[in-house]
Symmetry: C2
Subunit: 391 residues, 2 copies
């Protein structure tokens, strides 16, 4: 186990009707001026925005709004938000939505104090030193951004989709999580969210760091819980209890609970980012396509951890042949994505029968370098073959 | 799943040589005057105290010391600490040790600002509203006090051993955790610590709240990890990796990671507190005596959760007969405590062949009321029988 620092000071307020505590929570954090960031009209239609503003009004908190954040959030919207924030001068940014809204809000939070263009942080030119505090009302369990220090933004000029990881600066100060708010999500979005959180766990789990038994067991526990309740959520979107389990899993899948003290492998996420940056597909659906392909490829040279996953989570009997068991596990995972979550497991099913693999692969390595390090080392040829396996 | 609030802002600095960061960490928390609290001479002998003071000296931080905290920590020492603190006026209390030292430090932290006697909080007469910040350098993984909001103190006049739970006030601001520091622990203390952390998990796991799949799976994961690495630690006290896994398990076993949204059952802990308050036994050893007896008794009327534990953690095959499986699980757990941890599983083995059950039972119900609510309801007769089962 490697040395680590774990600091997740986010206050989680979880359960029914908790959004009504927003005024009280902002007060506790001494926030008197709040900029609300959200996506489309759904939170207006459901009355959520009104309830939130009523609660803030009760505490005499002033607000302004930035709406229209789209899935796979973009740089231009961040800049719009920074301009608005600099004019309104909020002391807290409140994201109402899922990963795209929260990630945009975090980008505004760091951009607010920076003299140059915020993209400098995402391009790795410099690191943020200060950020406005971010609060969250979560409506889509998926990205785990409500308690992570991460933010992923797409550059509309260069088509680069890239993230920053600043756990000391960007973990939200609070996250209100009411599973009732997720009941109106369409099946496709629910399923993609589940795929996203599973990927966050896999990316921590697939590690060569030895002796991380506690992290492995926690990761397996999360996956077992997700795979147990997911069919209930898909069958009955109004199953509060199943929604609650999924929602909490999405948070701890990404707040480092199961990743401490180990090397991680985020190459599949990077490979997917190229797909969604080019074809604007839902991130979780891109992941259900790329992950089995990545595992199938990695199992050839480094099967052990994938075999362990197969044995402990995917119900594969231990035959003593790690590679065979790992491949059997990948098959089962693929079927599960397909049969239970009704998600695509190939480019074809994703609606992209002829993806431009050459283009995505070139962009991937331009961004990440010639060799992607991780559970297995991947050069240009390896990642090309993984994209091909996903056809 | 019930509504919950989870807020664990403790910063964990985990790994080799991390104690050398203490000066830096105190600086970060703007602490210029620190009162160090510790137990006996072991941290002097090992040089730990000197290293800590050197690191603090380097940052020009002033210190005073309160030593001599004993296992099953007592009220009189807390009062001594409050007097010292009021004279020294520290801006942070630094506990170096295990649960007893940390719990004493927390009691001083709340007593410092209170006009009356600190015991008022433990007697339930009033609640603390303010506390000095507490930092920790952990040397004994067991109590989980390094990230919990709990503190347990024994009243030397009344023999009452009782805890307070103030997660918003008493979670330490940071915890330095170097597994190397635990290598000098004798087997007995290591084993008792493991028993304590397992009890913390059982007490959250044994719940009638339905649909807490994620909490169950995390709890089972922690137990599986503990039971996997414990034999390594017992066999080779210098196994850093196994020590590291155990140390982190002890923390998350008690910081509510696996208990969110459910009713818990702390009756076994309360029953053990009567044993250690009267006979001054090691807490974890008292728990390995009382827990199997409690589970054996509870399995008669409410076997399901214990059977689930047996199936998923203790390697008992599912025969379809929950009660039989639960009892088989308890038998296996008892054998494991005995054979792997070399801990007592009866009063006799604990060196108390004729415990005064009547006395302990009377004190228990005087403190907790006629009926102990939880996974099963226990009246005076029930708890008497559980003590008897442990003979």
């Amino acid at each position: 186990m490697n040395n680590f620092v774990f600091h997740c000071p986010t206050e989680f307020v979880f359960g029914k009707q908790t959004e009504n505590q927003i005024g009280e929570l902002c007060n506790k954090h001494k926030a008197r001026r709040i900029m609300i960031v959200y996506g489309g009209g759904s939170i207006i239609k459901t009355g959520l925005l009104k309830r939130v503003k009523d609660s803030l009004d009760n505490e005499d908190i002033e607000t302004c709004e930035l709406s229209g954040i789209q899935p796979n959030p973009i740089d231009t919207k961040v800049r719009e938000g920074i301009v608005l924030a600099r004019s309104f001068k909020p002391d807290l940014l409140l994201a109402i939505g899922g990963g795209s809204v929260i990630d945009t809000t975090k980008a505004i939070a760091v951009g607010y104090y920076y003299g140059g263009d915020f993209w400098d942080f995402y391009a790795g030119i410099t690191k943020p030193e200060k950020a406005l505090p971010v609060g969250v009302i979560l409506t889509i369990p998926a990205a785990g951004s409500e308690s992570s220090g991460n933010s992923v933004i797409t550059n509309t000029t260069t088509h680069v989709k890239v993230g920053i990881r600043q756990p000391m600066l960007l973990r939200p100060v609070f996250a209100i999580m009411n599973p009732e708010l997720t009941m109106t999500l369409p099946e496709w979005q629910t399923a993609s969210g589940i795929s996203d959180m599973m990927a966050h766990i896999f990316e921590r789990y697939l590690s060569n760091t030895p002796d991380v038994e506690i992290g492995d067991r926690l990761a397996e526990g999360m996956l077992l819980a997700i795979m147990e309740v997911a069919p209930r959520v898909i069958k009955n979107p109004n199953d509060y209890e199943a929604r609650a389990n999924i929602m909490w899993c999405g948070t701890i899948a990404h707040n480092d609970t199961c990743s401490l003290g180990r090397q991680e492998d985020w190459n599949s996420h990077a490979m997917e980012h190229e797909i969604s940056a080019e074809y604007d597909v839902t991130h979780g659906a891109g992941l259900s396509v790329i992950f089995p392909a990545f595992m199938q490829y990695a199992a050839q040279s480094n099967p052990n951890k994938i075999a362990q996953l197969a044995h402990r989570v995917l119900g594969v009997a231990d035959t003593g042949d790690a590679k065979a068991d790992a491949l059997e596990g990948v098959k089962k995972l693929k079927n599960w994505y397909h049969d239970v979550l009704h998600l695509p497991v190939s480019f074809k099913e994703l609606g992209i029968p002829n993806p431009d693999i050459e283009l995505m692969n070139t962009r991937l390595h331009k961004l990440k370098g010639d060799i992607l390090k991780g559970y297995v080392e991947l050069n240009k040829d390896d990642t090309f073959k993984i994209y091909q396996l996903a056809l």
